[in-house]
């Protein structure tokens, strides 16, 4: 018979922020917290930038093709993983997502509360505003 347990918060006993779940193959366990994306966003990077949907993220426009993602709940350190993609339109969609991109000497290091990223056109190697940008972050929340 199926059972149902109703709770609001899952907390580890040994360590509050560490719960294991059994893997799909039933041979190992994996850490629930470590497997979750800690932040993600889908946003329009043209004009006044606007998130279509997001989780634990807000955005700052740093100029053409230049953005900052700010966390609501901060990370424990700046060693988190950032991945992303960007799109323009079919037939003209060669753009590139680059975390921490800035001209040499002007880079802004990632922090526990924010990181900078850019969207480039490889043909010009210059930042470029695009209507579709996707970012996801994995790592340790504070």
């Amino acid at each position: 018979m199926a059972s149902q347990l109703k709770v609001d918060t899952l907390t580890g006993v040994t360590t509050a922020g560490s719960i294991d779940v059994t893997g799909e193959g039933n041979s190992t366990t994996t850490n629930l917290q470590q497997g979750l994306a800690k932040s993600w966003v889908n946003f329009n990077g043209t004009g006044t930038i606007a998130a279509r949907d997001s989780f634990n993220a807000s955005l700052t426009d740093g100029g053409t093709g230049d953005y900052v993602l700010n966390f609501s709940n901060v990370m424990s350190d700046a060693n988190y993983s950032v991945t992303g993609s960007s799109s323009v339109l079919i037939g003209n969609f060669e753009t590139m997502f680059v975390p921490n991109f800035k001209p040499p000497g002007t880079e802004t290091a990632s922090t526990t509360s924010a990181f900078q990223f850019a969207v480039l056109r490889p043909s010009t190697t210059q930042p470029y505003d695009v209507p579709y940008v996707y970012v996801q972050v994995h790592g340790d929340l504070a």
């Binding site: 018979m1 109703k6 709770v7 918060t9 899952l10 040994t14 059994t22 969609f93 996801q136 929340l141």
Partner: protein, 143 residues
């Protein structure tokens, strides 16, 4: 009344594993550092796929994906099995080619529906090109 369950490992009732465990969509978890709680379901990838885009395209592995359509060179449509609630989901992609030493590649989604997403894989000139290993992950709200 707020409730809290303290556990180290979650498995299903039968004890065979965790594959049948269901988590409510408002559940939260304690963060890695213990300082905050966040929504569990919002943090889960809702679909992902790793596929071969060269020759006869084929799915290497996937989750919540029911099909892959090859629309032509470097152009694919991925069908989502359990639909998303809207088209505002986040869908970062990446690709490479094991047969090319310097396979500069840009992957760009270009059409979104609640039940599918289409992507293009491009070389560094912006020309659609097949890549042997193409990946996409979707975060957002399931229907």
């Amino acid at each position: 009344m707020t409730s809290q369950l303290n556990v180290d490992t979650i498995v299903d009732k039968a004890g065979s594993g965790g594959t049948n465990v269901k988590i409510g969509n408002t559940s939260t978890y304690v963060s890695d550092g213990g300082a905050v709680t966040q929504n569990t379901v919002q943090g889960l990838a809702k679909a992902w796929i790793h596929f071969q885009g060269t020759s006869t395209s084929a799915i290497n592995d996937s989750f919540n994906i029911s099909g892959l359509t090859d629309n032509g060179t470097g152009n694919y449509t991925i069908t989502i099995e359990n639909d998303m609630v809207n088209v505002s989901y986040s869908s970062p992609c990446a690709a490479s080619d094991s047969g090319i030493t310097n396979s500069d590649t840009m992957v760009n989604p270009y059409t979104w529906a609640t039940g599918s997403v289409s992507i293009g894989t491009n070389n560094n000139s912006g020309t659609l090109s097949d890549r042997s290993d193409t990946n996409i992950t979707i975060h957002g709200d399931l229907a």
